[in-house]
Amino acid sequence: MNPRGSVFSAAYALAFFTFLFGPLIIMVITAFNSSRFPRVTPWECFTTGWFNVLITNDRLMSGLLSSLFIGIGVIVVAVPVGLAGALALSELSARLRATLYTVLIVPILIPGVVLGISTIVFWGQIGRTLGGPAQAFFYNGYFLTIAGQVTFISAYAMLVFIARLQRFDATQTEAALDLGASPGQAFRKILLPFLAPAIGSAAFITLLASFENYNTTVFTILSGNTFTTALASKVRHGTDPSLSALAVIIISITLIGALTHEAYIRRKTLLDSGKAEQSAIFGNPVLRLLTHPGAVLALLLCIAGGLVWLGSKHDSSVCEAGILEEKRAIQRQLQEEQRSRIDAQKKAGGQTQTPAEGGAGNPSPFGGAFTGGLAPESAAPEPAAPSNPSPFGGAFNPGTLAPAPE
């Protein structure tokens, strides 16, 4: 291979993976920096405190519970609806099928905002018409969110089932009927076991889609909060590294799941190939036990649990107090310098008119900001940063860097 080409390929691959995983890596690092704002530099102290901040945030945690509740509700409704849709499509004539397919797919194409608002309007109307307890039931954040999300998430589930059903051999059902099974038995004993993997994937996709949905949910949840809407409003009010801590948790769960799944798939492929006995790994009883997906999962969970335990023991308060002290010292020093400058200025001002004072008296629309107020040597009358109304809520203010939990 041409060496220049391979250098280019390697550089491209590096750039590509940096693009993909760079943000994740940065985010993971910021989760352990005690800095009040999520950043890597300057590195202050290694801390696990942001995890504590995260789990003591009531708004996020109650949002997480609602999200789980809604997610389960959506699975329970959307998976059977999607399955029914896919079965109906597989039974219909070609032209009817195309029409029904379009109708069932349309909710995916409609903006989530529209679905959210129309869900509220529709069920609100039904609730008002029925009145009484029905109104309370239909005009409830949980109900509305499940109803709103099911409208389009069931279409995702349906697509999963359609893909699986296309590989189903219809003579299997015929054979079951011919051997004496009722249509119900043929469905339960032949089609449903065949669809089992698809039911699993559909439930998983449904849960994820429900969990991460914002556009529809932000309307239908009414005054409540799901995890995603709580997170979004938290970001809007200024972010802190507890969100990075959340990212670390999610990435860890994903990694554990992916590794366990990989172990399961590899074992299954090996067993199906019929050469399991000859394999170096499978032949050895210890290695065979170790590569079992259950063992892999247990091992990963142990590692994760150990890290959590170690993290909970870690106390960064001494280091943080040190940093705080350092900052205070810097601040005191700055104040000191400022005071001495002001004193010097007052002395000088008693003798001659300085241009700076003339500038301060000038009714500038910038409040004299450009008259040298930013330069540490100049004698600006303002006491610099601390009183400055920063758009970051003072996150950059060295005076407020103490890790105060929300």
């Binding site: 003579t171 009927l177 051997l179 099974a181």
Partner: protein
């Protein structure tokens, strides 16, 4: 003894304008091995699905064991169908497959396993009950499918070209196997095939179908030796067809004027022919002989090609645009091969040839 007959009473099956089966009338006896033989698309599978209950006849009645099957679903009929691709359940073990009919009837797990083991013994595959279907060979799958169909002792076993997916050697072995199983269990077998070898070797009787019509029903030797229509004559076995017009008829013998000269043959079924009627004379390749001298029922032809096939030699000759095939038994003496283009004189006995009214023939 149970009544295991199948009666097709004026059965027609139509899909829109298309007639798949046209007025089939047939009685299949208890314990008979009966085959439907025909080219693909002749309606034999449609008829089979109608007997097994997956579709209803547009007209006429299907009676099984003397009972009208109208409105009786496939799961309520005393029939079991073996599908072309077997339709074994891939997610179940072999034993679970075989015991599936018992499972849906609510048999206990122990009884199911016992019956599965019995059936595995019957198909001579003991001890494979715990294997997966994907681990079986083609012939094993075949036998498992038969065992599964026989698990609840159906009165009628329907087989839809079950051997077509197997290789030649296995197919020949399975023919004998199927016949042996049928004689052991005494169930009526209805067998669908486009392979005449299968139909002729296994069956008690054969029905030859073409374009939805049952052309002839009879024992294999009758079908082969005394075809009743041009289609049957051309479809079953190798045959030479010589077309011409009737010149005259004396008793059972008909003489035709053909492009290859006047030839005579038996009138099929003692039928009377009008002079001038368009007919075909059929003569099998093994009934044509090479002779030196001209005479009655001889044809002067030119050799096109020949193929030595061990026990016999196949010759392809041509006379006035009519292709003729010959099959010569090799006697062992190393005869000098004939050169292509050599002049041949072919002869046949009139009683070995069959004259039939012109009609559609099987495509090569």
């Amino acid at each position: 003894m149970r009544n295991r007959t199948v009666l097709l009473d004026h059965v027609s099956i139509r899909f829109g304008d298309f007639t798949a089966v046209d007025n089939a009338n047939l009685k299949i006896d208890s314990g008979e091995f009966f085959s439907f033989l025909g080219p693909s698309g002749c309606g034999k599978t449609t008829l089979l699905r109608c007997i097994s209950g997956f579709s209803d006849p547009t007209e006429g009645k299907v009676l099984i064991g003397g009972k009208d099957m109208k409105g009786v679903g496939p799961n309520k009929r005393p029939t079991a169908l073996i599908f072309q691709h077997l339709a074994l359940f891939p997610l179940m073990s072999v034993a679970e497959n075989i015991a599936f009919p018992l499972e849906v009837r609510g048999a206990s797990k122990k009884d199911r396993r016992k019956r599965a083991d019995e059936l595995l013994d019957m198909i001579a595959l003991p001890g494979i009950g715990d294997k997966k279907v994907s681990e079986l060979s083609g012939g094993q799958k075949q036998r498992v499918a038969i065992a599964r169909a026989l698990a609840v002792e159906p009165d009628i076993l329907l087989l839809d070209e079950p051997l077509s997916a197997l290789d030649l050697k296995l197919r020949q072995h399975m023919r004998a196997e199927l016949r042996a199983i049928q004689q052991r269990v005494g169930v009526t077998f209805i067998y669908i095939t486009h392979d005449q070898g299968e139909a002729l070797t296994m069956s008690d009787r054969v029905a030859v179908m073409n374009s939805g019509v049952i052309e002839q029903v009879g024992a294999p030797n009758v079908i082969y030796n005394a075809p009743r229509t041009a289609f049957v004559a051309s479809f079953v076995g190798e045959n030479n067809a010589i077309s011409g017009k009737v010149a005259g008829q004396t008793e059972g013998m008909v003489t035709l004027n053909t492009p290859v000269g006047p030839v005579s043959g038996r009138a099929a079924g003692g039928r009377k022919y009008k002079p001038g009627e368009q007919c075909s004379l059929f003569i099998r390749p093994e009934q044509l002989t090479l002779t030196g001298e001209a005479g009655p029922n001889t044809i002067s032809a030119t050799l096109r090609s020949q193929a030595f096939e061990g026990a016999s030699t196949h010759l392809l000759a041509d006379c006035a645009g009519t292709r003729l095939r010959l099959s010569q038994i090799n006697t062992g003496a190393a005869a000098a091969p004939l050169a292509p283009g050599a002049a041949l004189t072919l002869a046949f006995a009139p009683e070995h040839a069959t004259v039939l009214p012109a009609g559609p023939m099987a495509s090569e």
